[in-house]
Every structure is written in C-alpha cells, then in structure tokens.
Subunit: 212 residues, 2 copies
C-alpha cells in the first residue's frame, strides 16, 4: 500500500476488445503501481491463468496486485492482497485463510460498514460509489464528495475512492480526503491507455502533494 | 473417505423448491455419509452462509463435507475436502492452499486425466459421466460401464462414479468398479428424499458387499 495513487481495477468486458494483460501492461508502463484483478464469468482455472499473467506483469514493473473476492486465487498466484465487497467473504474468514503479510481491503458505502470493516481489521477501504458509474452494477446510493468527506472524518484507514472517477474529478476526490483513486473504464476503455494513465497519475499526484 | 457409498452433490436449482439444507438433512437422516456442496450463481457470502449451515448438519450426523471448486470457502467453513473439475484450480495449487488433513478429489473423464490427477496426488477421482445426465452441463462423452471398467483397471485410487446414476443402475456401477456412486437429482429431485436415499443406500451397500 506504499505510494498508491491510481488503483486500476480490471474488466475484460470493459476493455474494448483488448485483453486484460494488454490493458494492465499499458497502465503499468504509464506508472500505475497497484492493480486489482476483477473479472466476471470466468472459470477458476481461467481466472488463475489470467492471474498468473497479471502477477508476472505487476512483478516486472514493481507494482502490487490485489485479487477481488477470490481468496483462493489470491493465495494460489501469490497476490499482495485481497479485496472483498459486502457480498464476498466477511473479513474475519478472509484473515483466517491468508498469511499475515497479505492485506485485505473492504468495499464500504456507508458509515456503518466503515465501522465494521475497521473493527475487523481492514487494511484499507474501498469507498464508493463516489459518482454514478456504469462499470459496476452497484445499487448503493452515490456518496458524492460530501459522503466521502464524512467517511474521511470517521476513519484514519487509507481510502481508495471508487465509482465514476475520471481525470476531470480526480483532484476533487483527493481533496475530499481519498488517499488514492480507483478506476475501471477511465483506463480500460481509453483510446490510448498509456496517455490516459499518465495524465490521470499526474493529476492525482499533484492533488496528493497539495494535501500534504 | 471412510465408508463412502452414496455421495450427495447438492443443487438448489434441482431441488424442486426445497432448500439445500432441507435436502441435505433428509439425505443425512437416511444415512448418507458424504455431501458435496456444489451451488451455482451464488455470491461468495451466500455460499459461505449456506456452507456453514451444511457444515453444521454434516457434523451433527457425523458425515463428511466436500466443497466443489471453492478452496477459499472450504477453508473458511472447515470442510473435510475440496473437489475440483478440469476447469477449476489445478491440484498442485489446491494443495498449496490447503492444510495436509484436507483431501482433494478431481473430476476425470478419460485415461489421460486419470494419469495427471494420480500424479498430482488426488485422494479420490470423480469419474464420469457414466450415463447421460441432465443435472450437469457436461460436454464430455459418456463413459458407460466399459469406460468405467477401463479407468478402474488403470488406477487404485477410490472412484466416485458420477453422471446419470439412479437406483436402477447403481449396482451395475459398483460392479463395474466404482467405490461409491454420486447423485444429484436422483436425491435432490426425489418426491421423498429420505425414502429414495434409504433405497439407494441399500442397493449400493448390497453391491459393495458382493464386491468384497
């Protein structure tokens, strides 16, 4: 969790025909330092094979790799951590399956969930949706920047903001208290992924420096 | 894997409106001693919650519990083992995630897969489909009793036969070399699950005694 700024979440179906390894490699080349593997409708073996490829890429670029939901796949490919949502395995069970050096992020969308995640020992929070988004089938109400500020006031855990974040609003999100922004389609669906990632990283790092 | 005879595979969608815990409890009451939790289209949390219920039931009746595919869920609920198919995590990765006392079964449908599974240290083989079946979306060719005999001649690992097994053909399957028969709809979709399980257990145990 060192130096996170832009946190790429993968999504083959949102990558306009490019493969997830192609998208990830472009983002890593631009300087992205953390990737969450999040793919739907794959068999365990397909996810494992893809995970091994993405693990090798992230290693090559010195970036961290988080696996969404699948604790078993994270263990099998030697990921740095696991990210769980409210419909995934509760954190105490995740911890029981993982070695101590792997960390766990939890998706939260309200203050109650923040409290539960903090109590259970989450290493970071995925907070959102900040803005409306088409990438995830979220039914949780949009938090907005005010909702993000309220959660920031509640917790000292690192916050990865998620949902509808683009180069236009990324600085506002950092200013509202997020430590890092996560994106899916802002990168996976960009015409030029490297250029889009470089521009987004620049904006986020600029805002992070201002917050120090 | 002690004393397996009838191996129940669960399937909420094949249970004619009864819940998986209801189906499992009826089968356990009849004397079934091993259950594989195999459910589709559930979130990890739903599967975990269901798994905990089924784990409590199997413990109460002194039966064993295997989880299909999901190594993480098996770990989290303290199952006795994991069953993996050819599209699931390969056995060497599964072993790496599991403590030594948990065992691993592998689905095989031809001699080559038997060799790979045996080499990798499978504890038992799920061999099939023996007969045509509507329960699983298998595309593998039907083995028939001759195919089962050929695999029996190839390996000394315990064989759990799978696919289209009913009270009518269960004895033939044991005579062809299976150690145990697995069923989904023959029990989950039975009018009277307890009566169907008792009748099937009787047939299978009779055939097992004849094979000794």
């Amino acid at each position: 969790m060192r130096d996170w700024d832009v946190y790429l979440i993968t999504g083959q179906e949102l990558s306009r025909g490019r493969t997830t390894p192609q998208v990830v490699e472009a983002a890593l080349r631009a300087g992205v330092r953390v990737v969450q593997l999040r793919e739907k409708d794959m068999s365990t073996r397909e996810l494992l094979t893809l995970g091994q490829t993405v693990r090798a890429l992230t290693r090559r670029f010195g970036a961290e790799l988080i696996v969404n939901d699948r604790v078993d796949v994270a263990l099998a490919i030697g990921a740095d951590g696991v990210h769980v949502g409210q419909a995934d395995m509760p954190l105490p069970y995740v911890r029981r399956c993982l070695p101590a050096h792997m960390y766990v992020g939890v998706s939260v969308s309200n203050g109650e969930q923040v409290g539960v995640a903090e109590q259970a020992g989450a290493d970071y929070l995925g907070v959102g949706p900040i803005f409306p988004t088409g990438s995830k089938s979220d039914t949780d109400p949009v938090l907005g920047l005010d909702g993000l500020r309220a959660i920031r006031a509640q917790t000292s855990l690192p916050i990865v903001a998620v949902g509808g974040i683009t180069i236009i609003n990324a600085q506002d999100v950092i200013q509202a208290g997020a430590d890092c922004v996560s994106v899916i389609s802002a990168l996976t669906a960009a015409d030029d992924i490297i250029a889009a990632a470089e521009a987004l990283l620049h904006k986020v790092r600029q805002a992070q420096r201002r917050m120090k």
